[in-house]
Symmetry: C2
Subunit: 191 residues, 2 copies
Amino acid sequence: MVSIQQRRERERAERHRLIVAAARELAETEGWESVTTRRLAERVEYSQPVLYSHFKGKDAIVSAVAIEGCGDLAQMLREARDAQPDPVAALRAVAEAYLEFARARPALYDAMFVQRTDIPFGTPESPPELKAAFGAFVSVVEPLAGDRDLETLTEVLWSALHGLATLTGSSRLRPDHHNSRLDLLLNGLLP
Amino acid sequence: MVSIQQRRERERAERHRLIVAAARELAETEGWESVTTRRLAERVEYSQPVLYSHFKGKDAIVSAVAIEGCGDLAQMLREARDAQPDPVAALRAVAEAYLEFARARPALYDAMFVQRTDIPFGTPESPPELKAAFGAFVSVVEPLAGDRDLETLTEVLWSALHGLATLTGSSRLRPDHHNSRLDLLLNGLLP
DNA sequence: TTGATTGTCGAGCGGTGCTAGCCACAGATG
DNA sequence: CATCTGTGGCTAGCACCGCTCGACAATCAA
């Protein structure tokens, strides 16, 4: 019976999504330290070993959440960019959107860009969500790159924003002066 | 007997240092995931509860290592700075020294600037080692700040370097192009 | 109907950070 | 010198972690 097989695969894929969604929700509401395989299994109303029939381990679940988060980030960056016709304003809008994403969803951000991961970054094998997020940065840097290498300059912008995001999020920068820092950074990266 | 009290305090302080040194060495050679209270107790040849008579918990031990690391970093930055009379060359030397520190001692760097911590950053109550490290950055940024706010500009430089360091260390940037990224960043931050 | 396969689960392994409570020994007191 | 006392270290154990083994139930093929 092929249709039964199909139904099973459908149910399995649905459960897969359910696990990722539960992990993400738990992480976003209570932090990754509260995401244990036991609590996750309880949330999806299956036993622990079921998780391991879908994912190689807890890290793989975190990676799945991270990739999903990259898709969200890419969309937010694109929207910020498209709302600003002027290239300089678009750069600033995208930078602000990035920092706002990190501030509003710290757990998601952590899984994407802080925690140790085996997701391949910066290669052709990178997941499309990741390329989309980086591509949003590239597209907003491109009109302002001048004769500087586009991809490298984008990496610099991203790195600087990442530094601001993580150090701000961990209370290692003075809480005020947030906008001043962004001003100085963006002024420096303009041609 | 006062001298006996003194001897005890001396021995206690010595053991305190021993614990921090053991934690640091274990972290630097095998990573923080290998630093467990059991292994640490074994290294210093005491039982686990002794650790808790010196530190409130494992996090406090990590913090002690982090503060020690800040002292090391401050010294390296000062040496890099003082070897370059030209301000621009000094900035570059300090930036390179910082990135090299992060590359060569990833576990130490992690405890200092990545892991969650309750060390107060950017306030008058910050540990002197921390102020010294930040001060080294300030002193090298100062001749180049122009009319920009010195402390804010230093925070931007530090954040950008931190972003480069962590994203490079977690293989999220293309391994080549390291120097190009630093070139672009520093050119942008010059007046 | 029977045998094989698939999928799920309880239970448990070796680890974690941390702590309660016992016990030996040093110092004070008679 | 003998006894009491308090400090400080240790053994043992708690509750939890990620992960997996082996039994069991349900489904499918013959």
